[in-house]
C-alpha cells in the first residue's frame, strides 16, 4: 500500500510517489494507493501547471488502472475538510472513512509513505 499525504506541486513527493505506484503495478502485486490529508489534492481536476513550469502529472493517475492498480482509496474526512467531493477528482476512487482506512492499512504487508 502506498500512502499519499502531501499536496502536489509544492513538493515533489506526490510525483515521485506516483512513479513508485506505476512501477509497483508492473510487478503484478496487489497494490493499493491511499490519498489522505493533503494527498487528496493530488487528484483534483483542472490542474494547469504551465505557468509555474512544473510537470502536470495529475492526468497520469488515470493511467494507474492500465498498470493493474484498481484499488484507489480516498479518506472521507480529508475530502470533507477541504470542501471536495468525488466529482472534483480525476479518477474513480473508493471513499472510505478514517476507521475503515485504518482497517485496510492493518491488512497490508508493506506500507510505503511519502
Amino acid at each position: 500500500m502506498l500512502v499519499n499525504r502531501k499536496a502536489p506541486h509544492g513538493t515533489i513527493y506526490a510525483l515521485e510517489a506516483l512513479e513508485v505506484a506505476l512501477v509497483a503495478g508492473v510487478f503484478d502485486q496487489d497494490v493499493s494507493v491511499v490519498f489522505t490529508d493533503d494527498g487528496v489534492y493530488q487528484l483534483t481536476r483542472n490542474q494547469d501547471t504551465q505557468v509555474i513550469g512544473t510537470k502536470n502529472f495529475s492526468r497520469s493517475y488515470r493511467a494507474l488502472e492500465d498498470y493493474g492498480i484498481r484499488k484507489l482509496y480516498v479518506e472521507q474526512e480529508s475530502l470533507q475538510a477541504r470542501g471536495l467531493a468525488t466529482s472534483d477528482l480525476v479518477v474513480l476512487v473508493q471513499v472510505v472513512d478514517a476507521k475503515r482506512l485504518g482497517e485496510l492499512m492493518d491488512q497490508q504487508d508493506v506500507v510505503l509513505s511519502f
Binding site: Y13, E16, V20, V23, A24, Q29, V110, V111, L112, F114
Partner: protein, 130 residues
Amino acid sequence: MRFAILVNAGPYTHQASDSAYRFTRAALEKGHEVLRVFFYHDGVHNGSRLSVPPQDERDLPKLWRELAERHCLDLVVCISAAQRRGLLDASEAQRHGKDAYNLSTAFRISGLGQLIEACIEADRMIVFGD
C-alpha cells in the same frame, strides 16, 4: 528477520538519514538481515562522494560506506531521483556527456523495481523521511 529500509530525505538537512543509519546498524548488530537500503527523493544525496562536512560533524556518506563494507550492505540509489538531483555514477555521467561523477562506489544506481522487489522479499519495510 529480513529488513528493507527506505530513506526519503537528504543527509544533514533532515535527521531521517541519521535515524535510518542508526536503525540499520542496530538491526545488524542484533543479528538481523538488512537486504537493501533504498535511497529515494533527496535521500539519494547520501550517496555523494563529494560531501565534505565540518570536522566536528558526522560524515554520513562515509558512515554508510563503512557500514556497507562491514556488512556487505546493498545500498541502492534510485536512478530517476538521482538524475534530477545531479547524482551520477561513472557510466551515467558518460551516458549524459558529463565529465564528472559524484556517486560513491559503495552505492549503486538502479531503478524503482529494486524498491518494489525489496518490499516483496523483506519481512519488514521501514521508511525514514521528511
